[in-house]
Structure formats: structure tokens, C-alpha cells
């Protein structure tokens, strides 16, 4: 008795697999978060500990002007010469000049590598977006401890 030749090829039923993948794609597309929300962390620049208890460390105070100008004032630093302790960065077309600010920050960072704290003093008319952009710029230059002062 001769047995029939066994068929060696076999077929996988791909339809359930495609169904599963389609269901997965639909679920993931519906639940996907397309906007990534982060946070810019700051501390209260005024208040908290008494001044006598606060350890002295180089601090950069930044005053935001109404037409984009910035006044940088470095405090508690012995390495930065007196003429560089107060700098002004003029605005361009009513906006902040980030290129010039970058140069000034690099110079200050070069003189005072311990400089990590920047405290922002906005005006009542300062735009929130500009404040965040300024904080972002400070973070890029390694000033990671940020603070904001109330009016």
C-alpha cells in the first residue's frame, strides 16, 4: 500500500494576525499623546529662608525691561570684575536679543564657573512666553537654578 505524498508546505492563516495588528494600531492611535508637555521649574526668588541662613553663592539677577532690554546684575561673586557685574543687553525691535545675551552669559560663566543661579525680575507688562524663553536660554548656558520674583 503506497501512502499519499505528504504536502510539505503549510500556510499560516494571516487574517487573525492582521486583525490583531489593526486593532493594536487603532488603540495606539487613539491613545497616543501627540503633544509633549513639560515643565520649567523655578523657585520663589523672594522669601523662604532668612537671608542670614541662606548660603552665599554667585547669583545673577536679571531685570526684564519693557522693550526687550535686559539688565544683568551679578551678586556674591568675587571672580567677576566690577565692570562686568552689571551688564545691559539691549533689545532688538522690542524683543530680547538672545544672541547678545548668550555672549554675555558665556563670558560670565567663563569668569565664574560656579554661577548656576539666575533670578528673574519681570515687569508687570512682561509676556509670559518671553519669561519662559529667557529661562530656557539660561538653562542652555548651565544656569539651572532659576527663580522668579513677584512684582
Amino acid at each position: 500500500m503506497r501512502a499519499g505524498k505528504k504536502h510539505l508546505d503549510f500556510e499560516i492563516n494571516l487574517i487573525p494576525f492582521i486583525d490583531l495588528l489593526s486593532a493594536c494600531i487603532c488603540f495606539l492611535l487613539l491613545t497616543a499623546v501627540w503633544v509633549q508637555v513639560g515643565s520649567m521649574d523655578v523657585k520663589q526668588a523672594v522669601g523662604g529662608q532668612p537671608a542670614s541662613e541662606t548660603p552665599k553663592k554667585p547669583t545673577l539677577w536679571v531685570n526684564m525691561g519693557s522693550s526687550g532690554e535686559l539688565t544683568l546684575n551679578i551678586q556674591d561673586s568675587k571672580k567677576v570684575p566690577a565692570k562686568l557685574q552689571k551688564l545691559a543687553v539691549k533689545g532688538v525691535d522690542g524683543k530680547m536679543n538672545f544672541a547678545e545675551l548668550d555672549v554675555a552669559l558665556k563670558e560670565l560663566k567663563g569668569l565664574e564657573p560656579e554661577l548656576r543661579t539666575a533670578l528673574i525680575q519681570p515687569q508687570a507688562q512682561s509676556v509670559y512666553e518671553d519669561m519662559i524663553a529667557l529661562m530656557d536660554q539660561f538653562k542652555k548656558q548651565g544656569l539651572v537654578d532659576l527663580g522668579v520674583s513677584p512684582l
Partner: protein, 164 residues
């Protein structure tokens, strides 16, 4: 190039069935079932699933973004964590989605603090608040929140931003 190859191959296939190569001129029966190339489809689906899984966020929504609020953009923001949220929307203040008056902000924040202490007596209150506001608003509108946060003992502020 591809087009011409297709034309040639189809031409030769059809020629193969006619007199010279197949003198009897017998035509092959055409199958009525169309063959779908499923491998490519499954490949594409798999790549899509992998991409979507990679970008899947398991942390959930920390903030509900309304249409009237457009967050400012930042490149070096940190990951947003769940803390009490103060929202400024259309000139109104919301603490945890509950509309409050500016004068009641400190009291409401103190309540949150007390609630946390009751629920977690062993833990120290972190004193962190998240502020969600439109990118175009002036600082004078946010000043009351900053002051109230300080008065209520919330020394750390997290400004919600969109990551660039």
C-alpha cells in the same frame, strides 16, 4: 525603467501563450482569485505598531489643555509630574479645575496642604505647584499666583510648557 520592464515582461508572458512558443495556442486558465501580497502589509503594520508603542505615554494626562490656552514652548523643560494645578484661562483662576477667586487662592492652597497632611501624615508636603497659562498673558496676571504660592508655602513653581 520599471514601467518598460513591466511592459516587456507582460508582453513576453502573453507571447508565450501564442503560436511560436505554444503552438497549440492553448491559453492557461486565469484564476479568478487575486493574490494579495500580505507580507508587505504585515511589515508596514508591524513598523506602525512599533513606532506607536515607542511613542506611547504611560504616564497619562497630567494636564488638560483647553482650546483657549496655548502653552509657551521650551527646549529644556523637565518631565511634568502631578502636583496641584493652577490654571489661568480667560482671566479666570482655576485650582484643580475648580474656579476660585483671586482672594481665596491662599486659603484654597492651604486646604490642599491640610488635605495632604491628613492623607499622608508621615510625609512632608512637597510644596510644589504647577501653573498652566497662555503664552501671551502678562506677568501681572500671574503675579497673584506667584505671591499666593509663596504665602501658602509652595516655594517651588512648575510652569507648564510645550516641549520643542
Amino acid at each position: 525603467m520599471i514601467g518598460s520592464t513591466t511592459v516587456k515582461s507582460s508582453l513576453f508572458t502573453s507571447l508565450a501563450t501564442v503560436s511560436i512558443l505554444n503552438p497549440k495556442g492553448k491559453r492557461e486558465k486565469k484564476s479568478i482569485f487575486a493574490d494579495l501580497l500580505l507580507t508587505a502589509l504585515i511589515d508596514a503594520f508591524s513598523i506602525l505598531v512599533i513606532f506607536l508603542l515607542m511613542s506611547f505615554s504611560s504616564s497619562g494626562d497630567v494636564l488638560l489643555l483647553g482650546k483657549s490656552i496655548e502653552l509657551p514652548k521650551a527646549g529644556l523643560g523637565l518631565m511634568l509630574e502631578r502636583y496641584p494645578v493652577i490654571k489661568v484661562e480667560d482671566g479666570k483662576l482655576f485650582l484643580e479645575d475648580k474656579e476660585i477667586k483671586e482672594a481665596d487662592l491662599v486659603a484654597e492652597m492651604m486646604k490642599l496642604r491640610e488635605q495632604f497632611k491628613e492623607m499622608h501624615p508621615q510625609q512632608e508636603y512637597p510644596g510644589i505647584v504647577t501653573i498652566q497659562a497662555d503664552r501671551r498673558i502678562k506677568y501681572e496676571q500671574m503675579n497673584s499666583i506667584v505671591v499666593a504660592s509663596g504665602n501658602a508655602g509652595f516655594s517651588d513653581i512648575k510652569f507648564a510648557v510645550l516641549m520643542k
